[in-house]
């Protein structure tokens, strides 16, 4: 029997990453898997005012920070929720005008945080005892690979077929094209080609785990708010109007190959477990911005396949 813990889409949240590192011990899991989207989306400038205080503006709030200690506390809180922070003056902030400058800023912070995470992972995880895997997702830039490959304890699974205690895991961090044209968005054709290439290396699909960031289209795993042309969610009777946004290539691959288990992320709003043929497909969703580790605990049996599973909120 193999107890696998899967989480995804931590988007730079310090708290969620640290919880994931501790999940093996907490849940009694034999294997840890992180399904992509490691990096954060936003950076909050903490403006140093001439009088020695600081100001941070985010989520519609203006936070006045009277001391260094207060500033550090807010920075820690923001990091817990996946924001990066940068101390700067109002003039320095105003000087950041071009997309290139913003990208450089993000690249530096993403690199610093991932370097720190690699150190933490190597310190806390014994790969001989608890195999652990992570990979970049569609939101992660190409340079993230450098950091994802740097850990001795956590293996970058992206684009690989790996053996885990009698099971195989096929991993792919891409997703189909999104309205935002993210770094690792690919066309459905490209997605299908990549999955097929990896699937050809799988010896036994009945013992294979698909770890594919983008969920299959038209299932309960891929419903996201429908956006209008201005990226504003549209309304529906039950609140937001939800539409399927998953990958048809992933759906087709699961139908065709019928792996034992398929693990997905990407769509934070829509976590569930569904069956596509014989395959149990799970999207754990994500609440990284609240510091909540959403995950899935799956008990696998060599003979019985998936013995049980649960969606966790940790």
């Amino acid at each position: 029997m193999l107890k696998l813990f899967f989480a995804t889409d931590l988007h730079g949240s310090e708290t969620v990453f640290r919880k994931w590192l501790n999940a093996s011990k907490h849940y009694g899991a034999d294997v840890l898997v992180m399904g992509g989207d490691l990096t954060g989306k936003m950076l909050v400038p903490v403006i140093a005012e001439p009088n020695g205080t600081f100001t941070a503006r985010f989520e519609g709030s203006v936070v006045k920070l009277g001391s260094e200690r207060e500033a550090e506390k807010v920075e820690k809180t923001l990091r817990a929720r996946g924001y990066y922070t940068e101390r700067m003056t109002a003039e320095e902030k105003a000087a950041i005008q071009t997309p290139e400058q913003v990208n450089e800023l993000f690249q530096r912070h993403i690199g610093d945080v991932l370097t720190n995470w690699v150190g933490l992972a190597d310190e806390r995880i014994d790969p001989q005892k608890t195999p652990a895997f992570w990979m970049p997702g569609n939101d992660d830039h190409e340079f993230v690979d450098t950091y994802a490959n740097a850990s001795k304890a956590v293996q970058n699974a992206d684009g690989k077929v790996l053996e885990i205690d009698g099971f195989t895991m096929l991993s792919l961090g891409n997703a189909n094209i999104t309205p935002w044209n993210c770094p690792r968005d690919v066309t459905e054709e490209e997605m299908a080609r990549k999955i097929d290439e990896l699937a050809a290396q799988v010896p036994d699909m009945s013992k294979c785990i698909f770890n594919i960031h983008g969920p299959p289209w038209g299932t309960n795993l891929d419903l996201a708010p429908e956006l209008d042309e201005d990226f504003t969610p549209t309304m529906d009777i039950g609140g937001l109007k939800l539409v399927p946004v998953g990958s048809t290539a992933v759906l087709e691959a699961i139908r065709r190959y019928q792996p034992l288990l398929a693990l997905h992320g990407h769509i934070h709003e829509c976590s569930a477990g569904v069956k596509i043929g014989r395959t149990l497909c799970i999207n754990t969703g994500s609440e990284y911005s609240e510091g909540v580790l959403r995950g899935s605990l799956v008990v696998l049996d060599q003979k019985k396949g998936v013995k049980s599973y649960a969606l966790t909120v940790g």
Partner: protein
């Protein structure tokens, strides 16, 4: 870029905020804006000496509760409402318990209120036009429509057909209807205002004396004899306010579930939660005061007392042979102006606003059933979203069928539904638990609290504001529960009459115990599913 508060890189999921106005209208219309036309009958009948206009001020008690829910919805912007807040702050079993009784209470109202718009909206308006115009055909038609089987037929079509269709349609129809509901709520107030300004009390008295078969002064005398209290008393006004009027606000917090799924909700939630209460207070205060101005508070309360006691002095023109014999305000208007157009429009306002609120009342229960299923406390079937409808079909079916059972009870066993109305106590029991969750949240879930947006971190005297609001919520809920329970506490009503509350409180316990042992047998206990992983 430099003008932005934060720097944002290209990544998925970055969406704009839902319109605060949408959230406001949605929250405002969920509690029926024109239920006040019903409560002006019941509240003074049961709490003699109440002044309904002043009683509206007791809605201020709901603001701290709205504040607590605002804090929670901003701290944990997820669907599921009280279930999520309590589960994460205290324990999933308590979350289920509180949200179950709150949900079933909402669903029970859905069933009961379907009968309201038929009885008082359709039939009451037809009868009023008939009486005003001495048209026996219309009165007969109203009486025929009041028959049990006719109400069953129309109500069934409404719940199983129209409401279900609306849930599955998956369009923006509901939001449009919310705007219409709020607009027609105000239109009803404008009509009342027109009656007061253009006609006034004298016209009402003349019309009543001419058409009712009795006269104004006789009603006042008979009403007093029947127990009507003309003097305004604080205690009766308070009880009317904290029971019927505060009860009328329930549903205005449903926006927490709606806007909870997207980020940046603090502004829209604040507007929805507090603004909706302000709109409701304005409409209800206007409705009560205008009806008092037109008819006279003493007269109106006399009529209520005569109706409640089945007094012989109760005007025959109000009495319906099958149902709906209460002195519904449309009839008062009929004595002033018999115009079918105006009376019909006023009746239509009540029908539309009430019918839309039914759909609103089912919103949170559907989401809650979905959330329980998602957490595997009930079968996962209920959290399946049918791709064809893009809706949680089984959750909708469960809610609709439960509502329909309550509707059948309303039609065939109104005596049972009368007990079910006490289920409102269950709602506030749920909010007592919510209040406790608010009190302990910053301490039990420190990392969640500290990771919340800055607006949720405020403290007063070193104590987190959310804890203070939690305490106030618990105290207010206990107070309102006491007010509703007063007849039981004083021995005027048997405790056995609260059996719906006992049933509603017992069912979630049974559900949780079954789920606990089932998942334990499968190797992943529920307790592990919800336990907190330490970050350090």
């Amino acid at each position: 870029m430099a003008t932005q508060d934060v720097f944002v890189r290209k990544s998925s999921g970055l969406t704009r905020q839902i319109s605060p106005r949408d959230a406001l209208m949605y929250a405002a219309m969920n509690p029926g804006l024109l239920y006040s036309l019903v409560y002006i009958i019941y509240a003074p009948a049961f709490y003699e000496g109440a002044h309904m206009g002043i009683g509206v001020l007791w809605v201020l008690l709901m603001f701290p509760i709205a504040g607590l829910i605002w804090y929670f919805s901003v701290s944990m912007p997820r669907s599921g409402g009280e279930y999520v807040y309590i589960s994460r702050s205290l324990h999933p079993s308590l979350g289920l318990w509180a949200s179950f009784i709150i949900s079933v209470t909402g669903i029970s109202w859905l069933g009961v209120i379907t009968d309201w718009w038929m009885t008082w909206g359709v039939n009451g308006t037809l009868r009023a036009i008939g009486v005003a115009n001495e048209n026996q055909g219309l009165i007969d038609l109203a009486n025929n429509l009041d028959q049990q089987w006719v109400r069953l037929l129309i109500g069934s079509i409404s719940i199983l057909g129209l409401t279900t269709w609306l849930f599955f349609k998956g369009t923006r129809t509901m939001m449009r209807l919310s705007y219409w509901a709020v607009a027609f709520g105000w239109l009803a107030i404008l009509i009342l205002l027109g009656f007061v300004i253009l006609s006034g009390r004298d016209a009402f008295v003349d019309g009543f004396n001419r058409l009712s078969g009795t006269d104004y002064e006789t009603i006042l005398v008979a009403g007093q004899n029947a127990g009507a209290v003309f003097k305004v008393t604080f205690f009766a006004t308070m009880l009317a306010g904290v029971t019927y009027i505060c009860l009328n606000t329930l549903g205005s917090t449903y926006s927490a579930s709606l806007a909870g799924e997207i980020r940046g909700v603090s502004r829209s939630q604040a507007l929805a939660l507090f603004g909706s209460l302000a709109i409701q207070m304005a409409i209800w205060f206007s409705a009560y005061q205008l009806l008092y101005a037109l008819v006279g508070r003493d007269f109106l309360h006399s009529m209520n007392a005569l109706w409640l006691n089945g007094d012989a002095a109760y005007p025959a023109s109000f009495a319906a042979p099958n149902a709906g014999a209460e002195p519904f305000p449309t009839m008062y208007l009929a004595f002033v102006n018999g115009s079918p157009l105006i009376l019909g429009l006023f009746g239509f306002c009540f029908i539309l606003v009430t019918w839309v609120s039914i759909a609103g009342l089912a919103f949170a229960p559907i989401r809650n059933v979905f959330a329980w299923s998602f957490d595997r406390i009930i079968p996962t079937k209920f959290s399946e979203i049918k791709t064809r409808y893009r809706a949680p079909a089984w959750s909708i079916v469960a809610v609709i069928l439960t509502a329909y059972i309550f509707f059948l009870l309303q039609i065939y066993r109104p005596d049972i539904v009368a007990n079910i109305l006490y289920s409102i106590i269950a709602w506030f029991l749920g909010w007592i638990v919510l209040g406790i969750a608010g009190m302990v949240y910053p301490y039990r879930r420190k990392e969640l609290y500290e990771a919340g947006p800055p607006a949720t971190q405020k403290r007063i005297g070193g104590i987190p504001l959310i804890s203070i609001l939690g305490l106030v919520t618990a105290v207010v809920s206990i107070f309102i529960s006491w007010a509703v329970l007063k007849p039981f506490l004083e021995g005027d009503a048997p405790w056995s009459g609260l059996w719906p509350v006992y049933v509603m409180a017992g069912i979630p316990v049974v559900i949780y115990v079954i789920a606990h042992y089932y998942h334990k047998s499968k190797g992943i206990p529920l307790s592990l599913q919800f336990s907190q992983v330490p970050p350090e």
